[in-house]
């Protein structure tokens, strides 16, 4: 007995037909897919310009079927500002890791948010510099071993983690600022909804929007993909609580 074949899962239209270069088990691919699905669902692919960072996702522009530019390390929010100010009817998003956004690019992200630029920022927090081989990032957890904190991050000498979503949520220019996680299907669905809300915020011109995504880095963490997902759940989520840190009144009224 045979059943008819039904396609239940396919490449979203927002993607090009290019295999990603990400390590097995890394959640960059999941985050990319969620963005592509949202752009497709909102019919925005044609009018979107992405801004890629420096980091593992430096080649993000190979995977999205939209126009893309590649920013200097940390400067994506400034570059995105330049694009959005001259093309206000286009959709502009940056995709940045924690080294890019929370270390070298802290000035650019804070001021883009403070100016209330109508941009969407997808912020990947995997607690280390991935591309350069797993060095300590501003988001590295206390005690966490990296190649530049080999005895574990000592907060006495290496400082404390930065909670970006909480920090940016204090700025009046921010319309939507939340943290989600990619460690299990339920949270991935919630993350997708948040990404949708962030783009809806931009479409309506309601200010700066950011979704921080807790993500895995199995290769640099020295874990299997499954162990990495557990690490996010058990160690990252307690340090970086999930939640809505700023949902401006106008954004709260959006019904998807």
């Amino acid at each position: 007995m045979t059943t008819p074949n039904t396609l239940v899962y396919e490449r979203p239209e927002g993607f090009t037909d290019t295999p990603t270069h990400y390590c097995p088990g890394c959640t960059h691919g999941v985050a990319h897919r969620l963005i592509a699905e949202v752009l497709e669902e909102m019919d925005l692919i044609d009018k979107t310009i992405g801004v890629a960072p420096v980091g593992c996702s430096v080649f993000a522009y190979n995977y999205f079927d939209t126009d893309f530019v590649e920013a200097p390390h940390g400067r994506a929010p400034a570059m995105a500002t330049g694009i959005k100010r001259v093309l206000p009817d286009r959709i502009v998003f940056t995709y940045q890791g924690d080294g890019d956004l929370a270390s070298i690019g802290m000035g650019e992200i804070v001021h883009a948010a403070a100016r209330g630029e109508n941009l969407t920022v997808i912020f990947i927090n995997n607690a280390n510099f991935g591309m350069t081989g797993g060095q300590m990032a501003p988001t590295t957890l206390p005690g966490m071993k990296t190649t530049s904190s080999p005895n574990g991050r000592d907060v006495e000498t290496q400082g404390f983690p930065i909670r970006v979503a909480e920090m940016l949520s204090t700025l009046d220019g921010v319309g939507y600022c939340v943290r989600r996680s990619l460690h299990d299907p339920k949270n991935i669905r919630l993350a997708k909804k948040a990404i949708r809300m962030a783009f809806e915020t931009q479409v309506r011109g309601l200010g700066f929007s950011m979704v921080e995504l807790l993500s895995t880095c199995p290769t640099n963490w020295g874990m299997t993909p499954v162990e990495s997902l557990k690490f996010v759940e058990q160690h990252m989520v307690p340090a970086y609580p999930l939640g809505d840190y700023k949902v401006a009144a106008g954004v709260a009224q959006i019904k998807i």
């Binding site: 999205f64 893309f68 530019v69 400034a78 100016r115």
Partner: protein, 370 residues
Amino acid sequence: MTRELWKGNEAIAEAAVRAGLEAYFGYPITPQTEILEYLSRRMPEMGRAFVQAESELGAINMVYGAACAGVRVMSTSSSPGVSLMMEGLSYIAGTEVPAVLVNVMRGGPGLGNIAPSQADYNQAVHGGGHGDYHNIVLAPASVQEAIDLTVLSFDLAEKYRTICMVILDGCVGQMMEPAKMPEMRPMQRGNWDWATDGRMGKRERRVLTSIYLDPIEEEKTNLRLLSRWKTIQREEVRYKEYFLDDAEFVIIGFGTAGRVALSAVRQARQKGIKVGLLRPITVSPFPFDVVERLVGRVSGFLVTEMNSGQMLDDVRLAVKGRAPVEFYGRMGGVVPFTEELLHEIERISSGKLSVETNPRDAWLERMAQV
């Protein structure tokens, strides 16, 4: 249009608007802040984009973004601020998008001071950011020339998909002179085949990047940039010459130093000294061929700059030891007086010059005596 009294910085701002500037991003720094202030009023009034960025890093990367979108975009700054922009400039060069940057130079290095200087010649002409690229660099010596070259800078930047810098010292930026503004050009976006302005149902996606992970691809990019630069060297050299026809020796100076030199040359001519002036407008591409043609015709050169002899090295490269080259410079924000240069002209016209003399060392020795 009649001539009006314009301050250099404000004239540059208005000239950029009339050339079709669609977006400006800047940060306050003396002695160029009037450009930012002027455009903070003018751009919104014209319905165009203006952002006071959080830093020069922010400003140049906003320029980078808008340049990728294919619009006429500019930033302006002064020496320490331009140093901060070097990262962005390198990326803009590597991505091959057009952008205009004005540097109203001040004394340095470091925080230096806010007095007029030409100390950023090497940064603009010979490097600045990392990697292998060249900027077109224009050097005005008057408010009128600052206006004309600002307009030209946009055309050149777009024609060659390159960075065009206008370098002037705080003197030209701050002084007022009668000058004529060009007519307002209609703001028009080029129909570029490279701009990342969204597919909009018309085309395949586009990517603008400066990363070429494969060394062969990067080398191809380097060669493409170099080949474009050779064209620029061939097509875009600009300079002004004064009294060169019968000159026995020639002063070479750009910007304000060149302008002071012109006054000294005129006074020397009244005294019967046959001296001429070559004032490069494009310090990059440098007018090597013009200097080449003068070698053999004249008995020597005097280079004058408001730095320690940065263009001097380019002149020596052109002269190749075939004629004596002398140097006179002031640094640190000091503008030379006409009398100083006249004195140099008289010294050279009455003395015996040698190709063996190291011009910078000889100048330092003379400076030590003063």
